[in-house]
């Protein structure tokens, strides 16, 4: 029946009561007049799109996918899913070369890693930035993440035996960032978990979680990654392992975006997939002990990444940091840093991205911490570039404070 087609959506747009609370918390709406805002782009638009795809608005690409609209919605409407779902369903334009490059984080990582010193040198040059800006529309004001010459996977593989000796075991979904850009975070996690008597294993060949593909119009590739990863995670779960992560976005993507946006069933693995901070907190709560240095002193300002706020797990990072003796802790206000993965790298989004982050940057400067703590790698790039303050994952701070 037509009526059914017109009124039934995979996402619950009909529960929207038009209160406009989401528009009050959308960071993009405040800085970019081209974006119609979460209410129009989400539930309002869905009603029209179901009648005729003609009503699909290409300006939906300005959505950051920060999920703040969903966190704010008093009616539980899946506003962000409505928006990203519509982009997947109706936007069939092939992604630009630039977007394909930005989205293929693991492919680019595996290409760049062997030549890391050269790549890092070249991407740091003004001329490279000018060329990338002119040809690909990657903003020249951005600082590019550095590549590491040695992968984390290689490092951990060399320690397989040593890790297997621990009485308890977990698998680690390290993600592209730890593997290609910043293996130190993975090493820090291994140090903290080892201190709790837990050994760390690699998964059987994980792939990029695919979030950048989802937001860059490459949902078919993202779905392939999702199916692959769910299979790999399932193997670990069958062995009775929990899977930990250190990236809030990878976690949200695999737990929620896979089933909600890509239609990939992850029910067998979802509950076993945890942020490492949650696992560590739960261990400590059950009586495990971490011994901290007596001379550790640090003023830490904690920024909850949007996707961790959506997961509702910021409280674990917060509590772990507060547990460290000698830490002076400030919880920063709930604000988006503006980068949202690949979004802020695009020339057309650069201004908006920096304007969105401005209140956060201002507060960080006012607090003047030794270090900003944050569980997201792209927030780290954005905050370090925009404020000059160093940013560390809570796991790295724990590792540093350990005896």
């Amino acid at each position: 029946m037509k009526l059914q087609e017109y009124t039934t959506s995979k996402h619950n747009f009909e529960e929207c009561m038009k209160c406009t609370v989401c528009t009050a918390y959308c960071p993009v709406l405040q800085v970019n007049p081209l974006y119609p805002g979460p209410k129009q782009a989400g539930p309002d638009g869905e009603r029209l799109r179901l009648k005729d795809p003609y009503f699909f608005n290409y300006a939906l690409k300005y959505c950051l996918n920060c999920k703040r609209c969903e966190v704010a919605c008093p009616s539980g409407v899946k506003v962000a899913d409505l928006i990203q779902g519509a982009r997947i369903k109706y936007d069939h334009r092939p992604p630009k070369l630039r977007d394909q490059i930005l989205a293929s984080t693991d492919f680019m990582g595996s290409l760049a890693r062997p030549f890391a010193p050269i790549v890092n040198g070249v991407t740091g040059l003004g001329i490279t930035k000018t060329v990338l800006d002119a040809t690909l529309k990657i903003d020249h004001r951005r600082t590019f993440p550095k590549y590491s010459g040695r992968s984390f996977e290689g490092w951990l593989k060399r320690r397989t035996k040593e890790q297997a000796a621990f009485p308890e075991q977990v698998a680690y979904f390290h993600g592209c960032y730890v593997n290609y850009n910043y293996p130190q975070l993975g090493k820090d996690l291994v140090k903290v978990l080892n201190a709790l008597g837990i050994g760390v294993q690699l998964l059987e060949k994980e792939k990029c979680c695919g979030i950048a593909m989802i937001t860059n119009g490459m949902s078919a590739q993202a779905t392939k990654h999702a199916k692959h990863n769910v299979g790999v995670l399932a193997k670990a779960v069958e062995k009775g392992l929990k899977i930990v992560t250190t990236s809030s976005t990878c976690t949200l993507t695999m737990r929620d975006e896979y089933p909600n946006l890509l239609g990939v069933d992850n029910s067998a693995v979802r509950d076993s997939l945890l942020m490492a901070t949650r696992l560590i907190y739960e261990k400590l709560e059950k009586g495990a002990v971490l011994k901290f240095r007596a001379d550790y002193h640090k003023k830490i300002a904690y920024h909850t990444p949007c996707h961790l706020e959506k997961l509702g797990w910021g409280v674990f990072s917060e509590r772990l940091l507060k547990m460290i003796p000698g830490v002076e802790f400030t919880l920063l206000d709930s604000n988006c840093c503006g980068i949202s993965g690949t979004y802020g790298f695009k020339k057309e989004n650069y201004e908006a991205s920096q304007n969105i982050g401005a209140p956060l940057f201002e507060q960080i400067r006012a607090v003047n911490p030794d270090v900003v703590a944050c569980d997201c790698e792209t927030c780290k790039w954005q905050i370090e570039m925009s404020t000059g303050y160093p940013v560390m994952n809570p796991i790295s701070i724990l590792a540093e404070a350990l005896e």
């Binding site: 609370v21 009050a24 405040q30 007049p33 805002g37 129009q40 009616s75 797990w313 409280v315």
Partner: protein, 381 residues
């Protein structure tokens, strides 16, 4: 995770309870399913007829200024309602005839402020009105998404450029003794409303707009900030889905986001709101409390739940969770002894505690006092 008290609901009742308990050195968590009812707050505390030092102190410590005066306040559509306690930027007049001539000012293109209804209402009181629109480049479509010109968007701009708006209004003002402006000032910079008042040579009245309410959002932000400053754990966007209750005692709460990680506590406060906030839900057969299935007071015959005349008082507004004298709700006829129901969830089952914001605050204080008293009692035992 263990707390002294776990509070379900981050609206006015939940925040007042959370702040009060934190102040007394208790550890608490507030679970807030999306943004709260404060986003629809008029700024006037209904049914708080007496000036209460306890209320004034709690709000002033959070940086929220209140004033107390018995009288009436102007409603968004030009009518008047009794009021006594209100946020500082909400005017309370001794009588509805508060002005002789009034200039009503709106922003060009802003549709959620009902200037002509206001004028009509005021003219009934013998107040002459003139409506004028101001046009500011900062509110042009190139600067702001068309169709999303909403209070928050305007208020953010006004925090920066309110002086420009004041200049425009000065030019429009003739012999009027009063200027009415939409309530879109003082979102982040809370000093803006009073500075506008000082800057204009006429009385300035801020009248309500369509939601979200700027004074309400500001109140919400300041209460949350105060709560977190006192060490409270605010779980935004999470939702209590069920509770583990044995022998009339709640042991822990299961939430949507924390799933297998239960929130434990000595006491629990249910402040999830009424039907509007989904603290109560209904289907064709019953009205129920969705988190724990508590006993609800409502009429059995569905046909009597509502009044067919829409504008009349609706019976369903009175329905709420049943409680004993200490605000402990009932589960299958038996009171749950470490659980407290407060705020709109009570409907009109406890008329002595008031209604609206008054009910939220009075019941929150009553629950907090009872929690502190029984904790003291346990200690002495």
């Amino acid at each position: 995770m263990k707390f002294d008290s776990v509070i379900m609901g981050g609206g006015l009742a939940g925040m007042v309870a959370g702040i009060s308990l934190q102040q007394e050195g208790k550890s608490t968590a507030v679970i807030s399913t999306g943004q709260s009812c404060l986003h629809f707050f008029s700024g006037s505390f209904e049914s708080l007829a007496e000036p209460s030092p306890r209320v004034a102190e709690l709000f002033s410590q959070a940086g929220i200024r209140l004033h107390y005066q018995k009288g009436v306040r102007l409603m968004p559509l030009g009518s008047f309602q009794e009021s006594a306690l209100a946020l500082e930027d909400i005017d309370i007049f001794p009588t509805p005839q508060f002005s002789r001539r009034t200039l009503i000012v709106n922003f060009m293109g802003y549709h959620d402020f009902f200037s002509s209804f206001l004028a009509e209402g005021l003219e009934k009181q013998g107040i002459q009105c003139r409506i004028r629109f101001i046009n500011l480049p900062e509110l042009e479509p190139t600067e702001m998404a068309r169709g999303e010109m909403r209070p928050v968007q305007i208020a953010r701009t006004m925090d920066r450029i309110w002086e420009k708006a004041v200049q425009e209004i000065r030019l429009l003002l003739k012999d009027e003794d009063t200027v009415i402006l939409p309530q879109v000032f003082g979102l982040q910079d809370i000093s803006v409303p009073s500075r506008i008042r000082q800057a204009l040579p006429a009385r300035v009245v801020f009248a309500g707009t369509m939601p979200p309410s700027i004074p309400g959002i500001r109140t919400q932000m300041l209460l949350k900030k105060r709560y977190q400053l006192l060490g409270g754990t605010f779980l935004m966007g999470d939702e209590a889905v069920r509770a583990h209750i044995h022998d009339g005692v709640v042991h822990s709460i299961v939430t949507k986001n924390l799933d297998s990680h239960y929130l434990e506590g000595d006491s629990f406060i249910l402040a999830t709101g009424g039907l509007f906030s989904k603290g109560l839900k209904s289907n064709p057969f019953q009205i129920f409390e969705p988190v724990m299935g508590l006993d609800v007071e409502y009429a059995e015959d569905r046909n009597t739940w509502y009044n067919p005349s829409f504008a009349e008082k609706q019976p369903y507004m009175d329905y709420g969770v049943k409680t004993d004298e200490n605000l402990h709700p009932f589960l299958e006829g038996r009171s749950v002894t470490n659980l407290y129901a407060i705020g709109s969830l009570l409907g009109n089952t406890r008329p002595e505690l008031g209604s609206g914001a008054g009910l939220a605050i009075n019941s929150a204080f009553a629950a907090v006092d009872e929690i502190l008293r029984s904790a003291q009692h346990d200690k002495e035992d």
